[in-house]
Symmetry: C2
Subunit: 238 residues, 2 copies
Amino acid sequence: MAPTAALAGRERVDKERSAARTKEAILDAALRLFAERGYEATSLQDVGALAGVSRGTPGYFFGSKEELYRAVLERGLERVRAAVRSGKERALASQEPPEVVLEGVVGEYFDFIVENPDFVRLVEWEALSGGRQIGTLPPHLEAAQEALGAIITELALEPGREAEARQLLLSLIGLCWFPVVHGPTVLRALGVDLSDPAFRAERRRHVIKLVLQGVRAELGGSSSSPLSMDSQHDRRDA
Amino acid sequence: MAPTAALAGRERVDKERSAARTKEAILDAALRLFAERGYEATSLQDVGALAGVSRGTPGYFFGSKEELYRAVLERGLERVRAAVRSGKERALASQEPPEVVLEGVVGEYFDFIVENPDFVRLVEWEALSGGRQIGTLPPHLEAAQEALGAIITELALEPGREAEARQLLLSLIGLCWFPVVHGPTVLRALGVDLSDPAFRAERRRHVIKLVLQGVRAELGGSSSSPLSMDSQHDRRDA
DNA sequence: TGTAGCTTGCTGGTTAGCAAGCAAGGACTA
DNA sequence: TAGTCCTTGCTTGCTAACCAGCAAGCTACA
């Protein structure tokens, strides 16, 4: 694929012809547009224009619009997987007690999500479209599973309580993603705005608080809720 | 689609010409398709076919595709507003202590959301598209504001703590909506499925637990968290 | 001179919206 | 009671725009 396979010289990084550089530019442009408008509403013409190439170039390098989309998704998921892995390793290596470690991890995750809205929006579009592409991508499963495993290890949960860890992880993700996606709808209806630093900090504290309360309930009680909840009378259990 | 081939005596009310009936059928079809595929990927031809009319009829009644979409959104929001209002009134009229009332309300909300995925998905599409249509619809604000007001009243919060109620409401919505939208992505990556009754019930209990813990923290402490949290050292506060 | 990188012309397919037309069934008239 | 309008409901033909993908061609560089 690369023309510079075994050739010497050519160390100029400037503006020479470079397929790799062009491909990256196309992936960047496509990520921004797919995240912003979704797959259907993004044309290869738009992608080319934003990447500074002609309308035909995205198709030339990626074969088809769908394959370009898959490449964008794959690169995004790979980045997330790397971030999750590094966060996990830092957390597991820490000497602090689980609660303190988790507080740091939750805050970091919140920051990561809020600072990478393109990724969240991309996955959200994908979810609404049925997850037909993301489902076949390998890094997809790994990030989530890895996070789940880390939580179980950190909390030293017995195997049986794994379901609780899964619920907690799900809640953490939902709590962090929600305001990123729903700025124009729910947040607006409530008169708040995630780009307001005060609200963002308030939200951050709130998410940490909720998740840590949930974790505490897990660590404290063994099987029943430690706070004397009698949530036994819920209907519709099948 | 010729007019009724029924020969004699068409006094029957079921198949007479009825603009109202046709419009409802078109709105129903459009809701399903917009919720499932999104605005861009839905053609008026599809809507007409699902509604049992020709490809021109949706345009005939609603003027344009965009106006049809607005009508679908508006009807959906109106229904939600009605549901929120009835839930609110039942809750405020109840004699139970706030915690019990809230537990019922949260469970009811969870059930409502899980049973009305079309509405959730419609709003989600709308959020991703920038909320350009929903932002101009009146019932949009009312449902959320009404819910917020009810929470404040029920908890008898001092005016200053209103921000906490907003955070709690946001979290409740996010916790309930998330699994409805992210079945194909996050839930799948974690190996669970909202259509599994066991998981659904487990999720329901978990959401109730988390939200009630959050409420309890509000009711208990006056300014600082009552559970001896020291979440004072979070960074990036702007 | 060859080839990778990139552009441009073309084609078939799809769509929203418009305009013209057709049918059904009251309302009005004789 | 029969005949005629005329409005409402709905369909179908047409058009201009857009788009993805293909193929042919151009260009810089080794």
